[in-house]
Amino acid sequence: MDWNLLISQLVNSIQLGLLLFLLASGLTLIFGIMDFINLSHGSFYMMGAYFCGSIVAATGSFFTGIIVGLVGIFFLGALVEWLIARRLYKENHLDHVLVTFGLILVFDALVHIIWGPSGLSIPLPDFLNGQIQFGSLVFPVYRLVIISGGLAVAGILYLLISRTRLGMLIRAGASNRDMVESLGININRLFLFVFALGAAMAGFAGMLIAPITEATIGMGNDIIIIAFVVVIVGGIGSIKGAFYVALMIGFIDTMSRSYLDDFLELLVSTAAAETAAPAISAMLVYVLMAVVLAFKPTGLFPPTAGNR
């Protein structure tokens, strides 16, 4: 048993899980409070990466890139909410799916026009490019940065949701929107804030991953499906659910990519195991969702007293 490998993979799982959480938390809030299915949430992930990349290229500072980028995505999210999402809250889910699908196309094309087809590289400051050693374990510094960033946001979100009045409104809205409205709260402003906050978190995730994988067109479109799975399995509107399930899926995905082919080799030929393993590990997430929905149709940690 190679403990070093196992620990590295565990760390990788947590990294992937936290990134998923950043995406899924915004999605679950938007879904839970506004009952709005936003397929283009992944586009905020992409725009975050591109915004950050351009700012870093212009200013030379990674941290400026993140801060200014976050502000930029926040406003972009607010703009999208105000222009488009707002008109659709009263409509049915199908309309949401269609409009946001169209938005994905628009964002992808805009990025192509503005930044061109090749990806955008985001160079890291030297001190983030190295490795750090714990005994016999070596980790790239930056991956640990991602983990800390993700945990920090998770922590701030937790404080926001559980300790502030705004958070209380959000929780109430996720549980019972009509009640909140009838209590005279300015629902428009609440929705605007939630949407923009969700967008900013998705953008942050994009900024974190881009120095590793580069900012590319359509980079959000496939991870968004996994984020949806996290939201559904975790329970719509539940931040806690998003957190636990995101980590769980990060774990399943990384571990299966790591060990599944060895495991399969015990059963089938090496060649078959080699091609089947990546496909099966990709599929596991969906199997999980189907199984959970069969037994707990509202997800694993639904917000209490749901209005759905």
């Binding site: 580069e214 359509g218 990384t254």
Partner: protein
Amino acid sequence: MINQAKYSLLVAALALAGTAHADSVKIGFVSTLTTPAGVIGADIQNSVDLALEHIDHKMANLDVELFMEDDGFKPDVGKQKTDKLVKQNDVDFVAGYIWSHVLLASMNSVLSANKFLISANAGPSQVAGKRCHENFFSTSWQNDQTPMALGEHLNKEGIRSLYVMAPNYAAGKDMVAGVESIFEGEIKGKDLTKWGADAQLDFSAELAKAKASGAQALFVFYPGKAGPAFLKQYQQAGLQSVLPLYSVFTVDAISLPRLQKAKLEGVLGSKNTQAWSPDLDNAANKRFVGDYLAKHGGYPSFYGAQAYDSIMLIKSAVESVNGDLSDKNAVRDALRLANYESVRGPYTYGNNGMPIQNFYLREVVEDDEGRWTTKVVETVFENHQDPYASDCKL
């Protein structure tokens, strides 16, 4: 109202297709213009444009009409566009095809219409072997050859164990097969990662496995956008000193400028094999690379070099039949001679339309103007033929 709409569609289509000349050479080119892999398409477009410029848009006094199509990195779209080129534009030659799976899906459409198919990049084993065809020619190589050259080099260097990573599609598997067929040491592990428009770009799990395997070297094949992503992560994991990198089609003139910008010094000194290099010393290459550098400020990639060659190859055939493209047999014989100045130097064709050519070991270096590029270190294979030629019944 709908009748009207259909009628105008008819008229529009007629207008579009109505410009058919009999006195021009029509070449269809299937490339990738959208998706992040569009960078390769851009390089190819530049090279094809340069080629057309160099020949003044004429072949044997015929005007050249070039139709560039986008396969969107999808085999079914590539096939559709191929059908369009063959049926609607009625081209004489179909060239291009970056991706092996797109070529495999589209080749029938060209060959069953009795047109000539010139691959300017993709070289899957099927096309070189069992499904070879007399109207197929390549200005690139067969997928297995380049990694075979690398395997040969590894043996010479005394490397005894290897970890392998490649994407899970036709070319990826061919690359792996190529190295495995020649490499005499032990393959400690193999990872075929998810490919396609939503390819896997985070290699943390696989890199951890590679390191843990204790192999002496790492072999990878990651074309397109996966290349820079992989190389970054390789460097960030600090593997240069622990697991030296040998690659094919991963480090090239497209990825190098980006890597240079991101200051990934880890890639300098890494080795790869190829049938061409920008520093090859012949007149055609000097002209091609020189003009490309002057026009675009950077080096052309091998994709571009091969695309440039495809235009020149077609030109040589058209000129040898004096523009009379109706005599297919004569055109075919002319193509088979490869009687043109290729940027890689002179080569010949095997029975399956694949070039018999040299393969070089190249190293990533910095040139006199501070640009990162590749330089030939030595010749690994001389006049090498692909291993599938004997499967071809031609």
